[in-house]
Symmetry: C2
């Protein structure tokens, strides 16, 4: 053999490594790009319903994610106030913001890994 | 703030990083765990139909993957012989085996990255 992967793949096309990163709890995926995006949109819109709609996600699915997030955290990541004269609304906690920041940083380190692997692929 | 992610997550549960890895061609995912598994099962069974069934994948979907693989490679990764007295059959090429080996090695390096990130998460 002795063929490199780059020789196996067509010369005139661009290839790069990409990937996804998530936290598992007891072997089950629980925190990744989806929950991050959902929490960020709740933070922007103040509404689980609006956040879900923007992601073309069902309200039920959004709640499943939020319940899973809150179940695995010592304090809730997403807080919902009951509707009333103020109309209620949802917010994310400082803990949510901290874990989102951590995820972004891990993703940056992963990006370096992917760039390094892409270089090797094209070497 | 100053809370670490591990403090935000429940103490009595086990958390670890996991992820997925794939090659993109011109920005589109084309080679990852699915194609690897499909080619390995074609190699074992000698049949695209059997390989697809084992993966609970439609024959159509299997062919879409095979076409995409072969389109991006200088020489085909999967070869199909027409049926006849011998019944035909499909095989994967040395090039396919080489790219599968490369993927497994990249996945091993990714595993080290994930273990390192899991350590940091739990620190």
């Amino acid at each position: 053999m002795g063929k490199s992967v780059r020789e196996i793949l067509k010369k005139n096309k661009n290839f790069n490594l990409n990937g996804s990163l998530w936290i598992e709890c007891n072997g089950q995926r629980f925190f990744g790009p989806g929950p991050v995006e959902l929490m960020e949109k709740i933070n922007t819109t103040g509404s689980i319903n609006k956040a879900a709609k923007q992601m073309q996600m069902s309200y039920k699915k959004a709640w499943e994610i939020i319940n899973m997030l809150n179940t695995n955290a010592t304090r809730p990541l997403v807080i919902t106030k009951a509707g009333g004269t103020s109309g209620g609304g949802s917010t994310i906690t400082d803990e949510a913001k901290a874990i989102i920041t951590w995820y972004r940083q891990a993703r940056e380190r992963f990006k370096l890994f992917l760039e390094n692997e892409t270089e090797k692929l094209n070497a």
